[in-house]
């Protein structure tokens, strides 16, 4: 089901990415006092960056193909963990995650309405 509807598939990919970001932020916070720890961050591959720069308008299927590449966890350029920045980014990502959940909820609602022939 989630794989047949391109919008739902796209939303669930985005949700996965937001979940990965939350994981990485929580790991950075947990390792704030670890000796020799280098801050981690989530990046998208060069292929994705090229596609997003070159294609101003995408339909859902194009976007889905774009979203197939796995985001990578790499060591950040600024290696020290700053607690305040980490918490701010975590809060921002949590809001995005909940927005995605809301979008999935509404998409499921549309499908539910369609399945009931428009009756509530």
């Amino acid at each position: 089901m989630l794989n047949t509807d391109p919008v739902l598939a796209l939303l669930s990919r985005a949700l996965d990415a937001a979940a990965l970001r939350q994981s990485v932020h929580a790991t950075n916070v947990a390792n704030v006092d670890t000796d020799g720890y280098r801050r981690l961050e989530v990046i998208y591959s060069a292929e994705q960056q090229r596609l997003s720069a070159g294609a101003p308008a995408m339909d859902a299927n194009e976007a889905l193909a774009w979203a197939q590449a796995e985001p990578e966890v790499v060591e950040s350029a600024d290696t020290r963990v700053k607690l305040d920045q980490e918490m701010a980014q975590m809060a921002e990502n949590a809001v995005r995650y909940q927005a995605l959940l809301g979008a999935i909820e509404r998409t499921l609602g549309l499908l539910r309405t369609a399945a009931r022939d428009g009756r509530e």
Binding site: S23, A26, T27, V29, N31, D33, T34, L40, V73, E105
Partner: protein, 145 residues
């Protein structure tokens, strides 16, 4: 592992802060602990390493959500800090010159440690809470019909 495993990482982070708190409390409590022949209490410090780095070495494989580094307290070490000599001839542990060796615990840096421990613990607790609430909301997906 997904996001459920991240709760364990935040818990490990809280464990680390707890260990730091115990060590800081021990240092402050023993600030006036003396011993015979200048053998005073030595200030303690924790060594925190990431469990993944220990297992795989510095040139490990690519980091994924399955092998995010978990912090662990690998050892508690005695700091090599010179004792503070205080003139107190009546003290049972005083040497021939009447000097008593007190542990080299720096009260200011100990208090600063307490603040940083408190902030670190709060941040981990908050991260745990955010992860938990996101998971909860995900589980509630499609619940209201």
């Amino acid at each position: 592992m997904g996001m459920f495993g991240v709760l364990d990482i935040s818990a490990a982070g809280m464990d680390v802060q707890q260990a730091r708190l115990e060590v800081a409390a021990s240092n402050i409590a023993n600030a006036r602990t003396t011993g015979k022949d200048g053998a005073t209490y030595k200030p303690l410090a924790v060594v925190v390493r990431s469990a993944i780095a220990e297992a795989q070495g510095p040139a490990g494989t690519a980091t994924t959500v399955a092998n995010l580094p978990v912090p662990v307290v690998t050892q508690v070490v005695q700091q090599d800090v010179a004792p503070k000599l205080v003139y107190d001839p009546g003290h049972p542990d005083a040497d021939a010159r009447g000097m008593v060796a007190l542990p080299g615990v720096d009260p200011v840096s100990s208090m600063l440690d307490l603040i940083s421990i408190s902030r670190g613990y709060e941040a981990n607790l908050r991260a745990f809470d955010v992860t938990r609430s996101l998971l909860q909301r995900t589980l509630d997906l499609g619940r209201n019909r």
